[in-house]
Symmetry: C2
């Protein structure tokens, strides 16, 4: 039996991606946008995984706002494969529910947890890494995390401190670290044994279920009860009633940090260095830099429009589909034009775009969010 036949990708697609406003909206979040290429981020995520698991073994966990669009974008999936959380409860309940559901279907299930809005440069290498991770996760109570080699002292990510190396190239995990400050981040990068936490994990459904029973016992009980209703008429009602009672906590914080505190040997957590050109496209600036690296346009200008005139313009990102765009004497700007909203910022301030959405939420301007 091929080990992969037990592999079930669980794609988390409940995020809002407010930093891509005004393109991203409640019903059209970042993962539903074609930010990088013709396919949307979630379509790319699914396409990358299909060589490892047939479509029927995929699970997607999202919310009510996004579910209809996801089903439309992924016509090969059954409706039952796309679960909409009644409320967001972070990653522990989401992937935990998948674990309890899969345990009922296949006691040897190996779960891969995947964000739905990242880009991967080398997809073959990505799948090679996953195959290795699936093997490690399938063998006993191991947890595998894909770690990204840091190339800058990024303060927006969690870090993994790696310990001793194994012959297969994986590393024992010593510690998970929350987002560091700038000094800490610089130390981590200099140290050489720190990795960015990619949010991609592999573990057997049993290992994850056991970990949840240990670390989040009340939530684990609720999730088991929801899972036992799956496939019955009352599932939606049970899901809606019980899921909001689950703890609102990430799987990193709930399971991985306590496990890593047990020490390298007892923790059984392994980091697989991921050298496949990962990028989480965290902002318009990150998208700009990613796209410039790929296409190397003149003067670093990336303009999506029906035509362009650029004069003394450098390093701009303009999204204005169907429009002629003229940029004269401007640099490093980010301008995104949609039928009802116009964003004007620059690469230095693109991190603050989420604040626009916060404002719109506060003012209840729901049409714009």
């Amino acid at each position: 039996m091929n080990k992969n036949s037990n592999f079930y990708p669980v794609i988390l697609a409940g995020g809002r991606g407010t930093r891509f406003w005004p393109l991203s909206r409640r019903k059209r979040a970042k993962q539903l946008l074609a930010l990088d290429g013709k396919q949307t981020m979630i379509q790319q995520t699914v396409r990358r995984l299909l060589p490892l698991a047939p479509a029927k073994r995929l699970w997607i966990i999202t919310n009510e706002d996004l579910r209809p669009a996801i089903l439309k974008q992924l016509p090969k999936l059954e409706k039952t494969q796309v679960l909409a959380e009644p409320v967001g409860r972070n990653t522990a309940p989401a992937v935990g529910l998948a674990a309890f559901l899969l345990l009922r279907e296949n006691p040897d299930a190996v779960i891969g947890m995947f964000p739905s809005d990242h880009v991967i440069g080398d997809e073959n290498r990505y799948r090679e890494t996953l195959r290795q991770g699936i093997e490690i996760a399938a063998a006993g109570q191991n947890i595998v995390v894909l770690g990204i080699r840091p190339n800058r002292p990024e303060t927006g990510y969690g870090y993994i401190e790696a310990g001793s190396a194994l012959p297969d190239g994986s590393l024992r995990v010593r510690r998970f670290t929350e987002k560091p400050d700038a000094n800490q981040a610089a130390e981590f990068v200099a140290a050489g044994n720190y990795f960015w936490n990619s949010g991609m994990f592999l573990w057997s459904a049993r290992t994850l279920a056991d970990a949840l029973r240990e670390h989040l016992p009340k939530t684990a009980l609720l999730l088991e009860e929801i899972a036992s209703a799956f496939g019955t008429r009352k599932f939606t009602a049970v899901f809606r009633k019980l899921y909001p009672k689950c703890e609102n906590i990430s799987v990193d914080y709930a399971v991985l940090e306590p496990r890593s505190a047990k020490g390298e040997q007892a923790g059984n957590i392994f980091c697989l260095p991921a050298d496949f050109g990962w990028n989480d496209l965290g902002s318009w600036t990150a998208l700009h830099e990613h796209s410039v690296a790929r296409s190397n346009p003149q003067e670093g200008n990336l303009v999506a429009g029906s035509g362009t005139f650029l004069l003394n313009a450098r390093g701009n990102y303009v999204h204005a589909p169907g429009k002629f765009v003229a940029a004269v004497g401007v640099s490093e700007l980010v301008v995104v034009d949609t039928p009802d909203a116009l964003l004007i910022t620059n690469r230095q301030h693109a991190q603050d775009v989420g604040k626009v959405v916060k404002y719109l939420d506060e003012k209840k301007l729901h049409k714009l969010t």
Copy 2:
């Protein structure tokens, strides 16, 4: 008889105003836009003049592209009052044609030549100045030019060098100067007896006709022939055939400069200092500054949109009607959004917007011009 009953305003409205692209287009030039207030520039021009001359005495000279929109914006005017040049031939033939037409109607006609796309802050004072100018122009072979006191060493305007002052406050004109370089302009401003040429002139139809016969004899003959066909069936054909043969020259260059070369006394040209808050709104930047001076908005941001969120934004001009505009961390930008084109520039480069139109003309992208 009131002197004003001989006064005929001739409004020149054939300009294209490319520096207001993408709002200004071939069929919707600057003078047809409501850049400052609810009325369009040409509507404001007419409204300002109506207390001095009834609508039936107004003449508008424009081109075929703009004539339909002008007639729509000015429903009180008869179609015959709005002449469309078959081709643009600058101001000498345009105002010259008006002179020959008016001579046939009223031998004592006094013509006022007015650009159609300027703003005037103090309209009462404007009309007072004009009343004074009309008197001077009606008395003999005088030419009156309205001069603007310079408040900066502007290199984009022509200058008038004034000589001796008369008791009524007017000044004899010593010389007309083409657009100066920066050093010259600074000298002019420092000297104190230089004025910007406003493009507003007053003279009797007879004086202007005589001047044209003297300085542009061939063009004068052509214009007389066109004028003699006015009101007949063959007018349009004659206009289309003869007008293109006229010299392509400004009235300043054709008449005023040669006249001023005759010397202060012989030239009979008088400058009326115009202190009525004149602004030619020469670019988006000029419009921004004019509007900021009037409304004093927070942080100097002027945003036309359906809503705004401004964070660390200063001195921006954004035109995006119907859209929510978010500006984050940007300063001194000019962004103009229309259904088919998006302009992104800054206040320093707004003078270069005409180059976009030049490019579009060259590429024959007529839909965008």
